[in-house]
Each structure stands twice: as structure tokens, then as C-alpha cells.
Amino acid sequence: MFDFTEEELNRYSRHILLKDVGVEGQEKIKNAKVLVVGAGGLGSPVILYLAAAGIGTIGIIDGDVVDISNLQRQVIHTTADINRYKAESAKEKAEKINPHVKVVIYKDFLRAENALDIIKDYDFVVDGTDNFPVKFLINDACVMAGKPFSHGGILRFDGQTFTHKPGCACYRCIFNAPPPKDLVPTCSQAGVLGAIAGMLGTIQAAEVLKYFTGAGELLTDKLLTFNAKTMDFRKINVHRRDTCPICGSNPTITELIDYEQAACDLTNR
């Protein structure tokens, strides 16, 4: 137990010094398996910080390739990575930061048909996606599989996040179903301030590390929102809803659904 090498002790010294982490917490981080869905604006800081922190296994699923318009906020990719698979580009950076981390990549999108099979190998899932269909898919798959996850979303100057653990509020407890397609603009239509991807993604990475070490209180049953124009942060209490269609007493959703993508999402692929 606690067989850290001299190099690892040095690398993780700032974690080990923390009372709430210590060698015990660092060992839990080392044994953790985290799936990051999307290696874009949110996935970039999440993957960088989780790799740096020494998460033992990081899964990265993204079927997209790097586009020049991504580089304004997707800081794990560089100009030289344009047209490369985001999953490959992100794996390379994660391994460069920390060669102790095992990175598993899926050059694919999370879909109803593959979701349960992929997430079953992980202890925690991070939603770094940019569209409602996949956000609901992550929620439903994680609730069905009993996996915790961190929800994250950003648009323009706004961000929101919460953490789900079995028994706590899920995405559908808060938002019953995806909004009608074309009602809500995506990042590619509405724009997003690049730096807020870092603000929200690092909150998600911190939640992952808190989950595994047990430090502090998670954003469970709390929806954190912020607006970068005013820099107002709000924490809104939310609760598991008994009538929730997926985690309530009589769930009406018993299998995963691929909701229709907004047209712009499809043309981007």
C-alpha cells in the first residue's frame, strides 16, 4: 500500500501536503477511472488537470477532429493539431503532462447504442459535450448504470454545472427533457467567451478530485451557475424528483434514446 516512487512523491507533493488529500487521497486518485465525454472546450481543462493530478485511467471519447475555430477555447489542442482526431491530440498532451496516466481513446461519439458499454469501465463520467441530446444521454446512461457524473454547460458568458451521485438529483430532475431542436442556440451559433470553458472545466475537474478523495462537499443537489460579465456565481438547491422520468419511483424511460441533433451539430461533423 502507498508504494509511490520518489518521482511520484515529488510530482504529487502539493496534493500529499493537503490534509484532505494526503497519500491516502493520492492513492485513490491513482486508482480512479474517469471517462471524459468530449475533448473540446470543457474536456480540454478537465483532461489536462485530471492527467496532471494523476488519475490512473482517463477515457476520452470524441469522434470530432480539431478545427481552427476550436482553438480559441479548446486549449489542449494546438494549431499543429488541426484536422487530427481530438481524442488522439488530447491523449498525446495528457501523456506528455503525466506519463503515469493510462489514456484510453474512442474516436467515436457517445450514442444510445454504445453508451452503457463504454461507461461500464469507469468510476466517474464528465460531461464535456456541447449539445442537449448527448447531455441527456450521459444522464440516462449514468443513472441506469449507477455511475456518478459531472454535468457542465457553457454558452456566451454563462456556465452551469452540478454533480450527480446515485440518489441525488439528476439532469432530468432539473430539466425534464431536451428543449425543442433549434430553440436553443449551440456554441457554434451563439458564441462563447473562450476563458469560461476553463472556468467551468476546472470546476468539473475539482469535483472529480473531491469525489475520489472525499474532500469537502460536492455539487450534488446544487446547480452552480455563473455569468462572467458580472462574475456572479449562484448555487441553486435542487432535489431528486420522485416523478423524474429516469430516476423517479416509476421511471418511464427504460432504454437509452438518441434525440435528434440540431442541424448545425450535424454539419459540423
Binding site: 515529488n10 507533493s13 501536503l17 497519500v23
Partner: protein, 74 residues
């Protein structure tokens, strides 16, 4: 109840306390850890940090030259 020894006289901050925490994690509850360290930063910080993190520092004794022994109970 076993007594363990740890020599961190060759270590520098923050590895002095990192090594102390590692050893404390590896020993059993109730065991004693004797830490040999040098004057200056290690002597100033290791016992203080151990106390702050909830460990029971039983004594700090001068051993020889600039070497001191800090006894901690897990």
C-alpha cells in the same frame, strides 16, 4: 504498538513533510514514528504541520549537532 524511524535529514521542503506523511500513512494506528530532521525549515515546519493535520506530536528532542528527533503518535 511498534516504533518506526524515518530519516529526513537529507530532504528539503516540501519533501520533508511529504515523506513524513507517507510514513505515517504506512504505519498502524497507535504506532510511534520517530523522525530525524535538521534545524531550520524542517525543525520549524514538520512538527507544526503534523500538529495542524491532527497528529499527536509527543516530543521534539535535540539529538546531535543540528539533528533533532520528532516523535509522533499516529
Amino acid at each position: 504498538m511498534a516504533t518506526h524511524t524515518l530519516d529526513i535529514t537529507k530532504e528539503h521542503c516540501p519533501m520533508t513533510f511529504v515523506k513524513t506523511k507517507l510514513k505515517l500513512a504506512q504505519i498502524a494506528e497507535g504506532d510511534i514514528l520517530e523522525v530525524l530532521l535538521t534545524e531550520g525549515e524542517p525543525l520549524n515546519n514538520v512538527p507544526k504541520s503534523a500538529k495542524e493535520q491532527g497528529y499527536n506530536v509527543l516530543s521534539v528532542e535535540h539529538v546531535d549537532g543540528n539533528i533533532h528527533k520528532v516523535t509522533i503518535k499516529k
